[in-house]
Symmetry: C2
Subunit: 400 residues, 2 copies
Amino acid sequence: MTEAESAPSVRPAFSFAVTHEDPRGSARCGRLVTGHGEIATPVFMPVGTAGAVKALTFEAVWATGTRLILGNTYHLYLRPGHEVIARLGGLHRFEGWDGALLTDSAGYQVFSLAALMRIDDHGVEFRSHLDGSRHVFTPELSMEVQLALGADIVMALDHCPPYGVEPAEVAAAVDRTTAWARRCREVFGGRTWRRGWERVLFGIVQGGVLPAERRRSAGELRALDLAGYAIGGLSVGEPVAALREMTELTAGLLPRDRPRYLMGVGFPDDIAAGVLAGVDMFDCVLPTRMARNGTALTADGRLVVKNSTYARDERPLAPDCPCPVCRRHSRAYLRHLFNAREILGPVLTTTHNLHFYQDLMRELREAIREGRLAEQAARVTARWQEGEAARRAEIARGQG
Amino acid sequence: MTEAESAPSVRPAFSFAVTHEDPRGSARCGRLVTGHGEIATPVFMPVGTAGAVKALTFEAVWATGTRLILGNTYHLYLRPGHEVIARLGGLHRFEGWDGALLTDSAGYQVFSLAALMRIDDHGVEFRSHLDGSRHVFTPELSMEVQLALGADIVMALDHCPPYGVEPAEVAAAVDRTTAWARRCREVFGGRTWRRGWERVLFGIVQGGVLPAERRRSAGELRALDLAGYAIGGLSVGEPVAALREMTELTAGLLPRDRPRYLMGVGFPDDIAAGVLAGVDMFDCVLPTRMARNGTALTADGRLVVKNSTYARDERPLAPDCPCPVCRRHSRAYLRHLFNAREILGPVLTTTHNLHFYQDLMRELREAIREGRLAEQAARVTARWQEGEAARRAEIARGQG
């Protein structure tokens, strides 16, 4: 690794400030300042797994209101390789994205995608899902790879066990996550300037659905005085009630002056609950992945675009949606595109879904600022859940 | 079919005017006025086969400078069906495209894609390439389908034999093409107002590579006094010299005050030759289809984006290209996108290729207006052919 720069560039240093707090709860609005732009929180980060938010140009991503994208360290390390990206100027320049970037630690992907071979205190050994090649990821390598990629926010390597493992395994994962975060902080320094912008390190709280382990994990990571904290180890198969409870518990354990990031969540009602619990940042593949599979997300639940019900439906995906897809295209047209396997089907549905998510976040931020978050969150939740219930009923009646 | 409207709407009637003629040759610049905008000629029409210019939003298509798109009657008739599209307001509204549209006659697709069952004076019987269903296309049905789709320019049903058939078959195809064009004109009326804009009928000259048959076909169609004329039956396997010769011969047989459309052509050197011969309109799947297969088109020939040569190449696809893809993205990034099978690879390469084609047309139009077409066409042809020759030499040396 090269020496950290001592003098800051003309780009601003990383900072986070809470700008509005919900007087009736834990929610807050804030401003994240990065070397690649300012971000209003609570923020939703679309996932740009392999150097692209799948199916969208970065102009189209920007037009949805997105200002912060998540890149997957695991994918980019394997292909095209972090050294290639570093030689080409880092991930911002490689992708052509002028906004801010966060890279994950690779921990979750190693556990969910790769063929896991061994995990010990040193690191995690796995085989690539692409070609079966063998790799060992350590906290030090995670930092090296993420510094090469050059995101504004990097994540400490964590151990993320699946839902349902024994308490002893959850505790061991917390131990390891703390030890690895400490090693990440040692090589990284907590925050560092490179190539003209500041990078900051976030830690990831583990602890499964065990309150005592969540408390221990949060306490140990807080002692490292990191720039931000993620709530990890959720959205891994646990019941919704556990997700809600652990989000609320963990958010409350984190420092008020640092951004709190709930990883891999979720549907609109999950996001509303997270915001109520005081979460500032979210990422999730749902809006992009479901779009590619022909499912639009609306305030009233999922809409399976490919469904023959829509073959002559002149209405837009969501009648109250101001996005460019809903202003211009009918369900019948989108259904036709999926039916004819046109690339434009995933492109337009992804565009709508990301607009919907960014509008959802904007409305939640406005509600916090205007002191009416409880009502707005209840409305989001009720509409979504009623829509989903109606959809399930239709499927049960064979009309879905 | 419904009655034609008698009173024109606020949209302008169709017209074509030659605005500049090359004093040293047959080339000309013109202005096509349609109910959906004005188009500067010579014009290149991207192909929007099944209700989309594959991989691009219509905003992105518009941004390339495209103002006229070709839709495939055969594909849209089969899926989603012309009646569905008519019920949804016609093809412009169905797609959400505000510019002008031309629909082909379905003749070429029936001969090239479908399982042809029988062709006689009545029409052509075929099985769908989608589901094997049996259909009979007649001149009358072609007009009915195209009127339902609602394009600004519709094409008379033609009989397009492949290259290399016996002269008697070429002559029979000319006979049938004339008879069918006459029937199209009878049901269609040559030009007609429907739903507030005027639609006009173009005829298609056949005759293979036989000058006498080309002359006969052009003469018979001219007698029908159609709004425009296409040069069909080329780009079907004949040698390049025959394409050039037949284009020049046929263009010279067509009325000077009507647009001349060379169907299914071609590479940049083919287009330069067509413009020199006095052609006003071109369509071709090359820029869109090659893009999806990972090939960029540049002034210096093809560039196979997926090639590992480009894995660390920081240059844009074409260093002198002002398109948004070349301004923002490297070959290394595009190569990565194809390698990772990201939809964005085809999206960005299609964007570049269409920009390149529309820039090529704009430069040819400028050259005509400024009296330097011969030089410009020679430059386009030499650069393209030298680039292609170098590429073939690289492949032969095993470096391609």
